[in-house]
Subunit: 110 residues, 2 copies
DNA sequence: AATCGTTATGTCTTAAAAAATATAGCGATA
DNA sequence: TATCGCTATATTTTTTAAGACATAACGATT
């Protein structure tokens, strides 16, 4: 009847660093090589996507993505090794949290 | 440097059942015997408090609180045994989640 | 039946968040 | 140097959420 739910994210010094939405965005950027295309592909506005990317980069010591304005194809964005690490870390965290909620749901006595 | 954070709640059929805020509100209602006083004591509007209470009661099979309009002192609200159970359950869940986040923070490789 | 402080609910206003729109700047390439 | 699609940012509009305010109903007590 009842179910334990929730969410997890990783915080840096000044706030959210990476959560589920940001991780998905990073994956799309990696897939498409562009913030614009990534945003469009997940029905997010470019502005919102850019702000998330900007926030992540500011929160991180080394940037998670590097952007290029101009050049071939108008520019683009690539996910760095640091970005890959962040994706991987969050994914593992998320998986363990899912396990946690499942186990907690089983424990509910109501 | 980084820290795992998040939140957990218990969901019923139609949405949120109990989370940290709702649990705290229940505790205050139990303490004061009144939605009005409980809300005031935690700087929440009566309306918001009432809506949370209403939502919890609707989500639960047995009501978590019973209200009385009119009568001695104008009425009041008492937390039922079911409400106590909900508080207890959520508290335990929350404690274990805190342990989870702490342990996950220690695991971070970034 | 008048009083009291509470529950319960409607309505209106304000503030915050999100979305939409517009536009400047970039640099490889032709 | 003109073009292209993308990054970067400012501005405006729309939508949503929160807050404020007002008021009816309730029932034990006097």
């Amino acid at each position: 009847m009842y179910k334990v739910s929730g969410n997890v994210w990783i915080e840096g010094r000044h706030g959210a660093f990476i959560g589920l939405g940001r991780m998905k965005l990073l994956e799309r950027i990696k897939e498409h090589g562009s913030i614009t295309v990534a945003a469009r592909s997940m029905k997010m506005s470019y502005r919102q996507a850019w702000e998330l990317v900007d926030s992540m980069n500011k929160e991180s010591v080394k940037p998670l993505v590097v952007t290029a304005a101009g050049g071939v194809g108008g520019g683009g964005t690539v996910v760095t090794a640091e970005g890959d690490k962040a994706i991987k870390n969050y994914k593992q965290l998320f998986t363990r949290f899912e396990k946690f909620s499942k186990s907690e749901t089983a424990k509910l006595k109501i």
